[in-house]
């Protein structure tokens, strides 16, 4: 690194803060995602009674199914927490193990959601049926798309851990994935309460 005083300072600062800079940037990106979800929530709330003579949420939603979905996602957040613990212990095997388990739970979540979507669509209650359903599919679907990208990311990280081991770069990416995954969990809790619980007891 640099040898002069100020440059040395610069170098040390750069090395120490590079990770936190990237995390900060990622956190800001998540804030912009918060805006996206807020707008989708506003749209949903605004359109949530525009049934256009179609079915209401009460008639459509199956709470037991959604409950299992929710559990899968909540537990996957927990298992991701275990990924981070094993990462701190430097336990490569279990980092991969818990990543895979998180992945499977995530796949379960997306699978159930797909089932729900297809089921609704085949009954004739697709997003084209009413503004309420348009906003329902879009809000829930946007969250599901995020989870899907998270799943791809998990797979990429499993590969990176296998090939590179727990290098600082890999560890820092796992930290951001953790932020992302917990973030999706929080958004889902909001979706669950507004869309499903709200829809049931409207």
């Amino acid at each position: 690194m640099a040898t002069t005083d100020a440059a040395a300072h610069d170098g040390i600062r750069a090395e120490a803060s590079q990770g936190t800079v990237v995390n900060f940037g990622f956190w800001l990106y998540l804030m912009s995602d918060v805006i996206i979800f807020s707008m989708l929530f506003v749209a949903f709330v605004n359109l949530s009674t525009n049934y256009a003579q179609g079915p209401t949420g009460q008639e459509l939603f199956e709470l037991p199914l959604v409950f299992i979905e929710t559990m899968a996602l909540l537990i996957s957040s927990l298992t991701y927490g275990l990924v981070m613990i094993c990462l701190r212990q430097g336990n490569t095997k279990w980092v991969q193990g818990w990543l895979l388990i998180t992945f499977l739970l995530g796949v379960g979540f997306v699978g159930l959601e797909l089932y729900e979507f297809l089921h609704l669509a085949f009954e004739g209650y697709g997003p084209q049926r009413s503004a309420f359903l348009s906003s329902f599919f879009t809000l829930v679907g946007t969250h599901g798309t995020h989870v899907t990208f998270g799943l791809i990311w998990i797979l990429v990280m499993v590969g990176q851990v296998a090939y590179k081991g727990l290098t600082p770069a890999v560890a820092s990416r796992l930290t951001r994935l953790s932020l992302f995954w917990h973030f999706l969990d929080i958004v889902w809790i909001a979706v669950f309460s507004t869309v499903y619980l709200g829809g049931m007891y409207r």
Partner: protein, 682 residues
């Protein structure tokens, strides 16, 4: 296979469009041919297209903006010609459909492909060095943002030759922009051009927020940041908050159009007003996004060319912050007339008018800085003075429009058109021209010719006045906006005056082109050897012109506002360090370029319903991201020896320059006390 794309998509029968396409094709062929002839593809690819250097990225943004400024202006001139010749009994030379494409394209391009890239380009050029940084926080992301912006711009270019551009105005109001009313490609081009470049802009926002908050040189506290950096910081906060709203609104509109959803449709429970709300939740902050950086430029320019510390630094910062904060609370004034109650209108009217206060504060501060200063009337200062004079009128008509009673009469009239051009041209455009002439020597190592710059300034200022003042009168006479033809004979003379104004603006633009060419030819005479051609106050002038890849061989330490002026005053400005160290810089990468091209193809596929192509492009984008995210080694090292070599060369140039008188001049200008009084006579 090709979706709805067929040979019929080319508008053969339209002579005007076809000649424009031919012109575009010839220009493209000349550029490609010349690059091939001179064997410059390798250079272009290595040094520019794959570059992650903030200076080069800034330059490429500004080039894009100037190309679109020309196109946007041609559209404007065509509209002026149409309205002048389409009075009662005449029909003009354009169909109303084509006219609608023109105002949609003009508005969209001017806001999103002229104003935005100019601003982001200036920020790229000036902010990292102003805060004493070597580059932005995420150089690769910066290149992604750039190429996404280009991708959006290229979609607009293609829309001219294949299919048509939107006809629903730059606001794309529903339900007209829905499938049922505009089934052709127009609105889809509009959506994807904005959507793709908008995502690039959001990423820029994140990038510069982190850069400014985390990469400042030691000693540069927030309250020591140059005002332009402050304006950039606040603008980027607005970007990160506002652009996602646009993304969502456009996303929903495309779901409506592609998959028959019902967010904004007239039936099945859709809500058109929701689109208008969502659009302006982005759109109103957007008008501040394009004006605040210009305020930043004016502040820097005023301080430099008055050779004084900016008056009321702190109030300037607070004024910026207040304007930004309030800009989110006033969007409803864009639809006072759409049927909400009087109380709601009054609240938003008062909120809107209050924004005038911090803006006024800024104008007083600039004037106070100029008060009893020895002002140098160089080009950047001219643009600033022109701005202060003309913008004041635009601000006042804005306050008038904020009164709902007046808005009921004036909204959607030419009065409104006059008002927003009165804000955008002297504000944003003059501001960016001031920045362009101010930072040009920093980016290229030579100044722009003064004489042609003056001509350009007068062309724009007089042209603007002649082109837009008649529109206030026309608005008061009741002429609505967006008229392809009309039947009131009283309007015709004023529309001819407005058309004459456009011709005078064209004179200004031609002078700018001549200025650039003649400056390049006289670059040795205009050379900036010291890196500080204006007697600058902020850190970007402490680097060489053009800057070395690493900006600063040694990161400077900052002790106050106007850090470089301090250094000049206490004689540390041109000191050489005892020794140099190795410097790590980010490597060039093609990933950003690939992402941009794929994004363009993705948009194109969607517009024409070529689904397999869109999916393929989507996969390429994802692949590029994954590939990049698996790459660890993205830096390279400039060895200390090479740094020393580059710096030796720089000091040789400075020594050369000190034999020339104007440098002595600029050094003596450096010696001033806090109040701006020169310490030594001269």
């Amino acid at each position: 296979m090709l979706g709805r794309l067929s040979l019929q998509a080319i508008p053969y029968d339209n002579v005007i469009i076809m000649s424009a396409v031919a012109l575009m094709a010839i220009t493209g062929a000349v550029v490609v041919g010349a690059t091939t002839y001179y064997g410059q593809w390798g250079y272009l690819y290595r040094e520019w297209l794959t570059s992650v250097d903030h200076t080069k990225i800034g330059i490429m943004y500004i080039i894009l903006a100037f190309v679109f400024l020309l196109r946007g202006f041609v559209d404007a001139a065509m509209m002026r010609a149409q309205q002048a010749t389409a009075g009662p009994g005449q029909s003009g030379y354009l169909s109303s459909e084509h006219f609608a494409e023109l105002f949609t394209g003009h508005g969209t391009m001017m806001i999103l492909f002229v104003a935005m890239p100019l601003i982001i380009g200036m920020i790229n050029l000036a902010v990292p060095p102003q805060i004493g940084a070597r580059d932005v926080a995420f150089p690769f992301l910066n290149s992604v943002s750039l190429w996404l912006t280009y991708a959006g711009g290229m979609l607009i270019m293609v829309s001219m030759a294949l299919g048509q551009f939107g006809t629903a105005g730059w606001t794309g109001y529903t339900p007209f922009s829905e499938q049922a009313f505009t089934p052709s490609t127009g609105v889809d081009y509009w959506i994807w051009a904005i959507q793709i470049s908008g995502i690039g802009t959001t990423l820029t926002g994140v990038n510069f927020l982190v850069t400014i908050l985390r990469e400042r040189a030691p000693g540069m506290t927030l309250m020591r940041m140059p005002i332009f950096t402050w304006s950039a910081l606040i603008t980027m906060v607005l970007v990160v908050l506002a652009f996602p709203a646009l993304t969502v609104a456009l996303g929903m509109l495309s779901l409506d159009r592609f998959f028959d959803f019902h967010f904004f449709t007239g039936d099945m429970g859709g809500n058109q007003m929701m689109y208008i709300n969502m659009f302006w939740i982005w759109g109103h902050p957007e008008v501040y996004i394009v004006i605040l950086p210009a305020f930043g430029v004016f502040s820097e320019v005023t301080a430099t060319f008055c050779n004084k510390r900016l008056f009321g630094y702190k109030t300037m910062v607070y004024a910026l912050a207040v304007i930004a904060f309030m800009s989110f609370g006033v969007w409803v004034h864009h639809f006072f007339t759409m049927g909400q109650d009087a109380l709601r209108n009054s609240i938003f009217a008062i909120a809107t008018m209050i924004i005038g206060i911090p803006t006024g504060v800024k104008i007083y501060n600039w004037m106070a800085t100029m008060f009893r200063a020895r002002i140098e009337f160089k080009q950047p200062m001219l643009w600033t003075l022109g701005f202060i004079l003309l913008f004041t009128i635009g601000g006042m008509t804005g306050v008038m429009l904020a009164i709902p009673g007046i808005d009921y009469k004036a909204h959607n009239s030419e009065f409104l058109v006059a008002h927003f051009h009165n804000v955008l041209i002297p504000g944003t455009i003059f501001g960016m021209f001031a920045g362009y002439t101010y930072w040009f020597p920093k980016a290229f190592g030579f100044r722009l010719d003064e004489k042609w710059g003056r001509h350009a300034f007068w062309g724009w200022s007089i042209g603007f006045t002649v082109a837009f003042m008649p529109l206030y009168v026309l608005g008061a006479m009741g002429m609505p906006r967006r008229m392809a033809s009309y039947s009131n004979p009283e309007w015709t003379p004023l529309l001819w005056v407005a058309a004459l104004g456009a011709v005078i603006v064209m004179y200004g633009i031609v002078c700018q082109i001549i200025q650039l060419i003649s400056s390049i030819r006289n670059r040795h005479r205009l050379a900036d050897l010291t890196g500080d051609p204006w007697g600058g106050r902020t850190l970007e002038w402490a680097m060489s012109s053009p800057p070395a890849e690493y900006n600063f061989p040694v990161i400077p330490r900052v002790h106050g506002i106007d850090a470089f002026m301090d250094m000049k005053e206490n004689g540390t400005a041109y000191q050489r360090p005892a020794e140099y160290g190795d410097i790590h810089m980010p490597q060039n990468t093609a990933a950003g370029l690939i992402l941009g091209i794929a994004a363009f193809v993705f948009g194109f596929g969607l517009i024409w319903y070529i689904w397999w192509l869109a999916i393929l492009a989507g996969l390429v984008m994802m692949g590029a991201v994954i590939w990049r995210s698996c790459t660890d080694d993205v830096e390279f090292t400039i060895p200390a020896d090479e740094v020393k070599h580059i710096e030796d060369e720089r000091f040789r140039k400075i020594a050369l320059a000190s034999q020339q008188t104007d440098v002595i001049d600029s050094e003596s200008r450096g010696r001033v006390n806090i109040d701006g009084e020169p310490l030594s006579p001269g």
